[in-house]
Structures are given as structure tokens and as C-alpha cells.
Amino acid sequence: MSVTWDSINEGDTLPELHKKPSLTQLVKFAAGNWDFNPLHHDIKYFACEYLGSVLVQGHFRAASLGELVQTWLGHNQGGRIKNIFCEHRGMDFPEADIICKGTVEKKYEENGEKLVDLTIWTQDNDGKQNSPGRATVVFS
């Protein structure tokens, strides 16, 4: 599944990416990004005891949004991520759904570059957008 410059239209939706990370998956992510904040693995940590759970890393959601966009772009189709941004507004917990979504906002040429602006976000089962963001991809 990948797109080309010609195949993209404003209003397109990106194929959704579904995540439901287990605690073990979060530990694997920590092994990948080297952030060992106990908030993300130690249920006895005071903040986790208070919340009743460990929390999914914000960077896990950002990386998942990266996966959403990169999977849509595919490889070797001339498109690459120029920039990707998200912020973290809410909490996600292990074993809960995180749905990564995106839409094509704008397709345009600027300074000789073929660009596509995307709105991207993660949402939980209540539809709350815990990591809203945006990305721009460039085609050569």
C-alpha cells in the first residue's frame, strides 16, 4: 500500500493504524528510545499508583503517527516525510486502543517542491484525540 504524487487528492484519508500496546510492548519501546521513566513501566511508581496504571509514552504515539504516514507513503515511490509534529494532550493506558488517523489537507507546489500537508492524530475509544498533529510530505 503506497501512494504516488498523482494518486493523492485533498480530502483523502490515510489507512488507519490500530495499536493496542501491552505493558511488554511499552517496555520494548523503552528499549528502543532509551527513555526509562518509571511512569511507563513501574506500577509501584507513585504516579502510577495514583493513576492506577502505567501510561503509554507520548513518543510511542508520535512514532505510531510516523508509522501511519510512512506506511501510507511506502518506499521508493518518491515521497518522504519533510516534517512531522504532534503534541500530547491526554493519557493512554496499556491494553487500550490507540487509533492513528490522518487526512490530506492540501496538495500544492511551492519553491519547486511537490508538497502534501496532512492532519494526523491518535484517538482513544472515546474518540478523544490525545496526540493531535500534522505532517508535510514532499515528492521528488
Binding site: 500496546p21 528502543g32 528510545n33 521513566n37 508520535a62 504516514v69 518506499h75 519533510k82 500530547h88
Partner: protein, 166 residues
């Protein structure tokens, strides 16, 4: 305290100042670990032949991954593994704006990062701003910028993030 917070001259003097450089290694194992942690099943992040067949020099770094900072006990922050001497954030007085919020992170790419690359990161405080919340309290917004340069001297990534103290 929040109502009376002001950016001091001492804080302002830190804006624009660059940290010493620090090395981030993009090893094949690190790319695999990050891809595995994120949950990728695409073989290009694991299998060198698959990566090369897709046109990459080596295993590509997944989006938002820029390698692992060289870890040295005493020189690296124990929780986040980041280099202590490259911390350019403002240290506030005890009790001053005690809460921290993530204001978001942007990754601007100029080229593909691949396994085998050695990146040099330089951090700087890009700007310091205050904002008054709807409840009349002051927030401090620290805008940080990390520039990653590869082994050929090319800037491949600028990471911008905001830390909000309130």
C-alpha cells in the same frame, strides 16, 4: 508564584546559546529495537536485503528516531539517557511554576537517516516566552531545538520541542 513569574535577564542570556556537541549512534540493532518497540512489521526496518531492495543504503531510521545518545555513566541523565552537558533548559527556583507540560515535538527532515550513520547533536534554547492562561496564571514556554548533523557534515534533522512550565 505563577502570577508573578517573569523571564529574568539571566534566563534571556541563555537564548540562542548552543550546547557542546554529543554523538548519537544509529546502529542496526538500535533501528530494529525502535521499530520493534513501535510495532512495525515492515521488513525494511529489520532485514538489510529488504531495505536495500527498497532503495535504502541500509536499515532506515523510522520517523521520529534519530539514534541513541552515547551513554556514559555520570555524563548521561539516568532516566532519559540524554547528555547532561547538553541540557539547555532553564532551571527554575523551587516552587516556581512547578508543573511541566509537553508542548509538542516537531521533526524536520532534510535527508534519510540510516543505520551506520553517526549523528552529532547540538542543542539550543531557541526562544523563551510567557503566556497568560485563561485563569490569569503565567506559563513559561521553553522552545528547544536540536540540530543533528551526519558524518558527512550534512544537517539531516532538526527536532523542535516545547516545554511548558506552569
Amino acid at each position: 508564584m505563577g502570577e508573578t513569574f517573569e523571564i529574568t535577564e539571566e534566563m534571556k542570556a541563555k537564548v540562542g546559546k548552543e550546547s557542546p556537541p554529543w554523538t548519537y549512534e544509529v546502529s542496526r540493532s538500535a533501528v530494529r529495537a525502535f521499530a520493534r518497540g513501535t510495532g512495525y512489521t515492515d521488513p525494511i526496518y529489520y532485514d538489510i536485503d529488504a531495505a536495500k531492495a527498497a532503495g535504502y543504503r541500509d536499515l532506515p531510521a523510522p520517523p521520529t528516531f534519530h539514534g541513541t545518545p552515547v551513554y556514559i555513566p555520570g555524563k548521561s541523565e539516568e532516566t532519559y539517557s540524554t547528555p547532561l552537558e547538553c541540557d539547555v533548559t532553564i532551571t527554575l527556583e523551587p516552587g516556581q511554576l512547578p508543573n511541566i507540560m509537553d508542548g509538542g515535538t516537531e521533526y524536520e527532515y532534510f535527508d534519510q537517516i540510516c543505520a551506520g550513520d553517526t549523528l552529532t547533536s547540538v542543542a539550543k534554547m531557541a526562544s523563551l516566552d510567557t503566556k497568560i492562561t485563561s485563569s490569569g496564571k503565567t506559563m513559561l514556554i521553553q522552545s528547544l531545538e536540536f540540530t543533528f548533523t551526519n558524518q558527512d557534515g550534512n544537517v539531516v534533522l532538526i527536532e523542535r520541542l516545547k516545554v511548558i512550565n506552569h
